[in-house]
Symmetry: C2
Subunit: 248 residues, 2 copies
């Protein structure tokens, strides 16, 4: 339910329009796994739940197509984008490539303010995690936001808006899988140390090392998800509900 106050909550207006508010809410619900991969998104139900008209829901869903979080099909409606082991491999490999490219470009061009941004983001992240980088109890959402801030800060000095755009899409795709691994334990992995090593290499302007470390960091998440999801990809998706084929 989108309350009127939601539109004006916080330090700044959350959304100028109801469409944008519904978009943000749906986006959050998908990224957090409340709406499972492959799940149908019945406009009629969402209309009732959010208290807006069908057209408003449709438009919000259409905007989520750009984030690759929703797939539309004419006359049949909308679905949460699918997730699968194959997709995780692809997301991982492609993200490794783009993060790496972005980080390399940032290292070439970054100035002191950029470095300060990284240090600050790392510090904020450290405050909501234990020494191994596990999110503190009840602060997973906060950790996720600060994790994103940290990764955004690493490539903030990259001049390529396209690289950053695609990378961001994949970062969030990865988030859908990452939450599975975080909620089930990170094994013996020390995410905090990984972040710190990436930061150190970056500040030292060692592009090759930094890129190798970020790639390993990303690959490790994939490996962890595979380990906890090894029972099969049933854990990754909603029971099939007339789900369309994967979009091209």
């Amino acid at each position: 339910m989108i309350k009127e106050s939601t539109l004006r909550a916080g330090d700044e207006p959350a959304s100028k329009t109801r469409i944008h508010a519904v978009y943000l809410q749906l986006r959050r619900d998908i990224l957090h796994g409340k709406l499972l991969p492959g799940a149908r998104l019945p406009v009629e139900h969402l209309r009732a739940e959010y208290g807006v008209s069908a057209g408003t829901v449709r438009e919000a869903l259409s905007l989520l197509v750009a984030d690759a979080l929703v797939t539309p099909e004419g006359q049949r409606g909308f679905w949460v984008a699918q997730a699968s082991e194959d997709d995780l491999i692809d997301v991982t490999n492609t993200r490794m490539q783009l993060e790496s490219a972005g980080l390399r470009q940032a290292i070439e061009r970054g100035d002191d303010a950029w470095e300060a941004g990284i240090v600050a983001a790392f510090h904020r992240l450290s405050l909501v995690e234990d020494k191994t980088g596990r999110p503190l109890e009840g602060r997973l959402d906060e950790w996720e936001l600060r994790n994103q801030d940290f990764h955004d800060a690493l490539i903030a000095a990259c001049p390529s808006r396209w690289t950053k755009r695609f990378r961001s899409i994949l970062y969030h795709q990865h988030e859908r899988y990452r939450r599975i691994s975080l909620s089930q334990g990170a094994g013996d992995r020390n995410v905090h140390a990984e972040h710190e090593a990436i930061m150190a290499a970056t500040l030292k302007r060692d592009a090759d090392l930094a890129c190798r470390l970020i790639e390993q960091h990303i690959a490790a998440t994939r490996d962890l998800v595979f380990r906890v999801g090894v029972n099969g990809s049933a854990d990754l998706a909603a029971p099939s509900a007339g789900a369309p084929a994967k979009s091209s």
Copy 2:
């Protein structure tokens, strides 16, 4: 004006829905430069022009956001995405990276059918261009479609859907710039020979050479656009019409 027959024209239904038909029409108009970069897209005018309701137009525009061809702004409407020299550089560099990655993966995995697809696409393309690769008179649109088929065929065997998705977005972004260079002459460039060399290296499974050639091919288009657009980027965009800042 979307005619009823448009929805059922050709060998297959063009669109199941009016939204999709408007989406395709708008997409074509933007890619062809009929709707200039930075131009406002007034819903009220488009509604009248296409003979559909405002909500239908809005939804079609929202779907174009995914293609990075339209930028929305709450309460202010929609705009054709901006174009600029900086953007062309970014599109080019990022596309070079993704095409190259896609081609390399395709070369690793492609089978005989993939090779046949490339040869066939090259052949079809050759039939609508002169010996230097200039489109034949009055067949620019056809050439563009077959050019796309050729480039799609090159990476058809790439397993990474994400690479192909992002690459496709950039291919079309590049198209907006490419039409400028084609309509103003390709100088002494031999696009046909470039395609042929790329194909030869690809069929020979020489990934390093093929990737270097495709990157040069893409860079050459950028250089050409710069040459013909050297009067400044006024040629690239509509007069500013309350255009929003470039989207992040």
